[in-house]
């Protein structure tokens, strides 16, 4: 089984992945909603921008984050001035990198499930006296919930697997930013650490597989027109 040091790595990965997913969830949902329902100029551009982290080399994303959150960067200087904190070399920075990388996958899954909601049900609710907000809370949200959860799980899985942007942005600090992939990379550089590589890799595969299975089960519910409530 895993050593205490290796459990720390797993726990840190889960923390970074969980926080990244939870923090980016509202933004992902808002973007998915805009792309599914909105009609505005520049929609195509927004769609492309959301998908950018999926295709840009992660090292570029990490470097851009470094520029933005560095001491002289626009976001880094604000954080420093208002809260006296920096996310560089911190697990919070790792969560930011993971969130950016997970965003496109989450938006895609959520957008599909919002698009799958039957608009005719919503118009029926309007004629029954429900305003737009009540329609959203009582119909659109519950009916698209399986897809939203599937997107969240997918985002979580992507977050705990994040490597390139993280190591570029917040480096590979044991106990702080060293998540599973980064720890595996470090172990690969050390002679005689093959057993560690095996154990951590097995853990990675197991976590990813579990997340994908949950996500797929939820997506099937959407396709069958079921719901989780």
């Amino acid at each position: 089984m895993l050593s205490p040091a290796e459990w720390t790595i797993v726990a840190l990965s889960l923390k970074v992945g969980g926080v990244a997913m939870a923090a980016v969830l509202p933004l992902a949902f808002a973007l998915a909603w805009l792309l599914a329902r909105g009609r505005f100029p520049g929609k195509l551009l927004l769609d492309a921008l959301v998908h950018l982290p999926l295709v840009v080399p992660p090292v570029v994303t990490g470097w851009l984050l470094l520029l933005a959150f560095g001491p002289n960067g626009p976001l880094g200087s604000l954080l420093e001035r208002w809260f006296g904190v920096s996310v560089l070399f911190r697990w919070t920075g790792a969560a930011i990198a993971a969130a950016i990388m997970a965003l496109p996958l989450m938006v895609r899954a959520m957008r599909l499930s919002i698009e799958a909601v039957d608009r005719r049900l919503e118009s029926a609710a309007r004629t029954l006296g429900a305003g737009p907000w009540r329609v959203f809370w009582t119909l659109t949200l519950p009916l698209s919930l399986p897809g939203i959860l599937a997107g969240a799980v997918l985002g979580f899985a992507r977050s705990i697997g994040e490597f390139g942007a993280t190591i570029t942005f917040v480096s590979n600090v044991p106990g702080e930013t060293q998540t599973l992939p980064l720890a595996i990379y470090s172990a690969l550089q050390q002679p005689g650490a093959e057993a560690t590589v095996w154990r951590l890799s097995a853990m990675s595969v197991a976590l990813s597989l579990a997340a994908l299975l949950v996500s797929e089960l939820l997506t099937r519910r959407v396709r069958r027109g079921l719901h989780v409530l």
Binding site: D118, R120, L121, S123, A124, A125, R126, T127, L128, G129, A130, G131, T138, L139, P142, L143, G225, H227, L229
Partner: protein
């Protein structure tokens, strides 16, 4: 006057226009499929905006392009029974019926009139076509409507179910005393239910 509808709407290549003034009871819009009868109901319900014109029901102006009046659908108090039942799949029949109702005071009477008491705890996907249609009618009635819009309420039902729903509609017409605007392409249906028939 119950319904005063004077509207024009361009839908793609086609143009829908109607001038109608109707009194009490059940008014039937009768005509072949695909000439925009449903669009007229959608305009009265506020789901589709006319290009110009005026819509008033029972003396209340719901839309008037001349004065800029356009009441939101949730404030029009339309009891709209669509051609497809449009029941909410994640809510049981009881919750569907009460979606637009302030409380469950009218539930027992409506349920008895439509004969759907045994369905209250079922999920919509387990209902037959006729049952779903009756639940949709009940849901519209329970939302405290000022008028009813019925879109082909008897289509795609077998003969015995048609009789069942038609009886229910006759009861609604005679007991509720609401102005009703109904769309159909079936002359027999128009003949039997209509207080007056408008061919379009």
């Amino acid at each position: 006057m119950s319904f005063e509808i004077h509207v024009e709407k361009r839908l793609g290549e086609a143009k829908v226009g109607l001038d109608l003034t109707a009194g009490e009871g059940l008014t039937v819009l009768f005509g072949p499929s695909g000439i925009g009868k449903t669009s007229v109901l959608n305009m009265v319900a506020g789901l589709l905006g006319p290009d110009r014109g005026r819509i008033a029901v029972a003396g209340r102006t719901l839309f008037d392009s001349a004065t800029g009046v356009d009441v939101a659908p949730e404030h029009r108090r339309a009891g709209y029974v669509f051609q497809d039942p449009r029941l909410f799949p994640h809510r049981r029949v009881r919750a569907n019926l009460l979606y637009g109702a302030g409380d469950d005071a009218g539930l027992a009477a409506t349920v008895a009139m439509l004969g759907i008491g045994h369905l209250l705890d079922r999920w919509p996907r387990t209902l037959s076509g006729g049952e779903a249609r009756r639940v949709a009618i009940g849901r519209a009635l329970l939302s405290d409507p000022a008028f009813l819009l019925l879109d082909e309420p008897l289509s795609s039902l077998d003969r015995s179910r048609r009789g069942e729903i038609m009886d229910a509609l006759l009861r609604v017409r005679d007991e509720a005393g609401l102005p009703i605007l109904m769309v159909t392409h079936d002359p027999e249906e128009a003949e039997r239910l209509g207080t007056r028939i408008v061919a379009v």
